[in-house]
Symmetry: C2
Subunit: 390 residues, 2 copies
């Protein structure tokens, strides 16, 4: 009997909105979105999940949300707002995932209703995973509160929690219903968190857009001095480049190619080895420096361009190396990380390097001698920098 | 700042294959599929999850699997075959979900590798959910072993487990990599399980294909006498109609319309009230009879066509009613079930009725007086039938 062939496409569509003070009563953006998204007849609810750290830094947030949905009635606000810790911790302990599922069950949140998550990347990842699997997918609204989540993780299609102590072991690809980037949340970030998210913009500029790289170079002083307009543009353009990449290639990553992971293979290992003391964005900055200098040493990138990249990273206040990134022998953690990354990809290594500023290139082999040379060069440069600062 | 708009489509494609003795050494179908699906460079593994009841009924199954992958080497067989109980129980107890995740972790199953699940709908649902969320989606091969899973649940795009005592509370939409329908598994089914799956074929014929309904009528005696060729065609055509519907409309059910749920609203309630003593297919047969007679009473369907449907259901050996389906007053379980179904759909009821054999029609209101009349008519008919049998 002949086999049956199944073929279909599923269309996904969502907007990333930019605003200030999303829950100000006279800001109709969110309610307008919820009104336009209405499907006939259904009673729709919205359940808020809020990062405790964000609620602490913005004392009126929860009462603002309540007031907002008294004034705007496109959907019915679930009166209990779930407060959960921020940071990677919330992805490690399944109790927070269960807390959201409990609320979905108790408050009758169905597939016409919304979970709105406010927080950094970890909170959005965890809440997004709960939303994706509850009833095979409750609608998710992401309200990212950090530079990193506004320009990268929060505007994409992934969610996850950790399991067996392994990062992102469980998760799905599930596009959000909408994303709202509110620049007021950025005002209370520490300098460290403000800076951290910039490295993803450098990354995507380096592999996709030389004009944007020039812009970051020119605006580095404004970014360091926490100029809001400069940061808003950086986030907007970085988010746009990420979204274009996701839409254009392989949104749900069925293949092995992951050019957006430029600079990330060593960063993942470094984050883990530091017990997550080093922020993702800080590790990515060092990972970019490493793969840039390596690209230069193997003859792909000019020395002048390599210097521009490393200088920019330093000018923004990032460190460019770390003791854990210095390759001393064959059993260096970094070389182990390379091997683990190869296994993670199913046996074939795929790493993005630079042919030029604005042009990435994938390779399947790494010359460990040149990698060692790059790591030592950066380590020595970072080390001398620290000496001059003392 | 202008908002960013994200739009993309994801293509899904898979085949449903029909075979006998999938793991016979000279059957190259599975190995051929695995060879063709190869992506360069990656070391691929396959982890088997097998319904204990199927392994018991087919004593050589596990050793056949081992022998098959000694002879055929497109992928590397994980030596441990996970045996889990069949039936709804496996979706209620999270330990079986965890057992699969443990194996994914321990044996290094990545997104290039496969989980192959052999069993009835419950085992496929649970294993499919584990596969869908592990690493954001390990490839799933479904090998359904019942009529119901070969012609309906196993060939579609859903997976799930139960949570908070609620059926399918957690799950995703995740198309399989492939489905292999092996008719040898059907030979050991009880008569009750053999019959049960036929009701989904009646259902899809009634809403989609009058010619297929005629075929089922003509082949009812062959189906009752367990004619393999008749059953193979019934499964093939039923699977094809389900797959065409999924591809054509709204594969991941973003809207409220669910015409494939014809006859199901009362069936879900009946299964639950009976503590799952009544099989899904048996409950669906009664649900089809109820919505057919109701369609006739409200003037949509001719009395002659209604009689053809009810007679066919009886001729196949199904019961057409049950004490729990008889509406006696306003607090009847069936009317409660209708209200729960309305809530489940988010406030607006959408139920499929019949305008003719082969033509479904959606309605948003049910006349409870006519529903009561239909339920009593069927109950009395079933009751008299039992009396004449004594």
């Amino acid at each position: 009997m002949e086999h049956l062939q199944q073929n279909f496409s599923v269309k996904y569509s969502y907007n990333v909105f930019f605003t200030s003070a999303l829950f100000a009563k006279d800001n109709s953006l969110l309610n307008g979105f919820l009104t336009n998204a209405a499907t006939s007849g259904a009673l729709r609810k919205i359940l808020f999940v809020v990062d405790q750290g964000v609620a602490d830094a913005h004392g009126h947030l929860c009462s603002d949300i309540s007031s907002y949905f008294q004034a705007h009635t496109a959907v019915h606000l679930v009166p209990e707002i779930l407060l959960i810790p921020g940071g990677e911790y919330v992805k490690n302990d399944e109790r927070y995932f269960d807390m959201i599922l409990d609320a979905v069950n108790n408050y009758g949140i169905d597939r016409h209703s919304y979970i709105a998550a406010i927080g950094g990347g970890a909170v959005l990842d965890m809440a997004g995973y709960a939303a994706a699997v509850a009833h095979r997918g409750v609608k998710l609204i992401r309200i990212p509160t950090t530079v990193l989540s506004q320009n990268d993780s929060g505007i994409g299609v992934k969610n996850s929690i950790n399991y067996f102590g392994k990062k992102n072991f469980l998760g799905t690809f599930a596009p959000p219903a909408a994303v709202f980037n509110d620049d007021q949340f950025l005002t209370t970030l520490t300098d460290r968190d403000w800076r951290s998210g910039i490295s993803e913009a450098i990354k995507v500029a380096l592999i996709k857009d030389p004009v944007f790289f020039n812009w970051i170079e020119q605006n580095a002083p404004a970014l360091v001095s926490r100029d809001a307009a400069a940061m808003n543009y950086l986030i907007w353009r970085c988010a746009q480049l990420h979204m274009q990449h996701i839409a254009g290639a392989d949104p749900f990553e069925s293949g092995s190619s992951r050019p957006l992971d430029f600079g990330h293979w060593s960063a993942h290992k470094l984050e883990y080895l530091s017990g997550f003391d080093i922020r993702h964005g800080e590790a990515v900055a060092m990972g970019i420096a490493l793969d840039t200098v390596y690209s230069c040493l193997c003859g792909r990138l000019t020395a002048a361009d390599s210097e521009r990249v490393v200088s920019l990273i330093q000018n923004l206040g990032f460190e460019i190396s770390h003791g854990l990134l210095r390759i001393s022998g064959d059993d260096s953690p970094l070389l182990q990380g390379l091997e683990e990354f190869r296994e993670h990809l199913g046996g074939e290594l795929t790493i993005t390097l630079l042919n030029a500023i604005g042009e990435g290139a994938e390779v399947n082999e790494i010359d460990t001698e040149l990698l060692k040379q790059a790591s030592i060069e950066l380590y020595n440069r970072q080390f001398e920098l620290q000496q001059t600062q003392i």
